[in-house]
Every structure is written in C-alpha cells, then in structure tokens.
Symmetry: C2
DNA sequence: TATAATAGCTCTAGTCACTATAGCTTCAAG
DNA sequence: CTTGAAGCTATAGTGACTAGAGCTATTATA
C-alpha cells in the first residue's frame, strides 16, 4: 500500500493533483488508513501513470476519462480510442500551423532599427495589422 | 461617440471582453451617457485595436499593458518593447517544437491495426511511455 | 407620442487543469 | 515521547474570457 506522497513520487503526479483527480471522479475515491489517510495499490498507480502519460501528450481530461472507460472493457472495438487520438492529432497540427504563422509574423516584427518608441517597428507593427503577412 | 456595441463591431473585440478589459484596468473607465451607458471616442478605438492585434499575436495581457505604457511615452527607448517581443517569440518557438514532438508521437501511435481494445496500439502506447520516441 | 425591439447595465458564476494557502491531524524516526 | 514531515479539508486564485439573470436605456417604427 502506497501513501499519496509515494504514489506522487512514483507516478510523477503532484499530490494536490491526485486529490483533484479524485474530486472530479477521474480516479476512484481511495481507500483510507485508520487515521483517514489515502492508501493506494498497484492498480491505482497504473491508472495514474496512464493519465499522466496522456496528459503529457496533451489529451484533455474528459478524453482521458473516455479512454479509461474504453480501456476497462477489453472486448470493445477500439475505434472510439482511435477517433479520440485522430481528433487530438489534428488539433495539435492546427495549433502548430497557427503558431508557425505567428512565428513568421513576430520574426518579421523583431528587426527594430529604431532607438525610441516613436520609431520602433515593434510598436508600429502591433498598432497596424496591414503590415502583417497573414490573418490571425 | 461610439456605443460599446459599435466599438465592439469596429474593433472586433466582444462587448463583454471590453467591459472585462475596463475592469482589469487595461483600458480606462469609459465616459458615460446620461443613462449611464459607455461612450467611446477615436482614441479608445485605437487603443482597443492595438490590444486586439497583440492578443491575436498571442501576447499576454500584462505584456500588452506594458507595451501600451511604453507606447505612451514616445521619447522612451524602445528596448523594453523589443525585449517583450523577443521573449514572446522564443516562447512561441518553444511551443512549436514541443508540439512537433507531440505530433510525431501521436502520428506513430495512430496506426492501429487492432480490432478490439485488447489489441489497440493507441491504448497500449498511452499505457507505456517506453515505446515513445521522445520525453515529454 | 406610445410601444416594442434592441442594446446596454451590474453582478455572479462557470470554464480548464491545476496551484496555493490556512488551519488542522496523523504518521514515522530517533 | 517528542518532533518534524506528511496528510487532511476547504476555500480561493490563476488567465482570459464567457454565460446568465434581472434590470434599464435607447431607438425605430406605428
Ligand atoms: Zn524598437
Ligand atoms: Zn496582424
Ligand atoms: Zn485501436
Ligand atoms: Zn511517452
């Protein structure tokens, strides 16, 4: 049996975050010691590591909840899981291209030759979108 | 004089957002009509357009606040503005590379040949980071 | 001028995924 | 047996809005 601190160290998930996950129902209410402290076993650790990994990969908590539900029933078709991943992947790709347009824009703005604010190309570019390369 | 609705249409910033910006002190409290409705003039519109553009470019509100303060005093050296932009640009670049590593990881996971959850490569990959290409 | 539709007002609470704090209790090592 | 670390609950804060309730002002038409 693990204390919440040990579960935290082993999983890499912070203690308040574990309690938060319990509160929102992402993990089941933990067993308690006689003094009312949370106690965990191997299965809880596995579930938490799954959650941590999916979070590190950028999945939303409600998608993670769905994935965990799917995972329970090993006879289920996995198309649901594949669909969540595909959606997330295209979301990540959208964010990348949006950020790349941003990068180009900021890069363009960053070559300021001025000395004072009146002639600063950064301020000027921010004030006037018509100098921009893209829509944002 | 513009009503808040017209200011909103002209600037592209939603009405509740304008009120929110006033509340947090990003824009000055507006003049009021006899019936206590907000009234704006050209300068307010310019400031709001600046804010909108900077937000579209991903700047944080407190950086925008600093940029606006700098912008007021046209005789100031602009190194402060340039520094804010440089910091933001490197932040954007970090996010891009993080997301690109994520994309590669998710792409790798997405080729599931299985039928049911028991043999789903998505679920399997999420459960076990050791298959991953990168740290996250 | 009366009325009705639209727009505006304030205030509160909700979003997401945590994080921080305060004030208390339990546990484990020495 | 004492002490300090770790755990407990509950509440509030983060950023940048967004939604809703319940009210009032403005404006266009009849
Ligand atoms: Zn400059
Ligand atoms: Zn622009
Ligand atoms: Zn699959
Ligand atoms: Zn991984």
């Amino acid at each position: 049996m693990l204390s919440i601190g040990n579960l935290s160290k082993t999983s890499g998930v912070k203690v308040p975050t574990i309690r938060y996950y319990e509160k929102i129902g992402l993990i089941a209410p933990a067993d308690r010691s006689q003094g009312n402290q949370r106690r965990y076993e191997a299965d809880d650790l596995k579930r938490l590591i799954f959650i941590k990994h999916a979070r590190d990969l950028g999945f939303h908590l409600d998608d993670i909840k769905s994935l965990l539900t799917l995972k329970e029933d090993t006879s289920c078709p996995c198309s649901g899981a594949d669909e969540i991943l595909t959606r997330h992947l295209s979301d990540v790709r959208n964010r990348i291209s949006r950020l790349q347009r941003l990068e180009a824009e900021l890069e363009r703005m960053s070559h300021c030759e001025g000395e004072c604010v009146a002639e600063c190309s950064v301020i000027e570019s921010l004030a006037d979108h018509s100098h921009c390369l893209y829509e944002h």
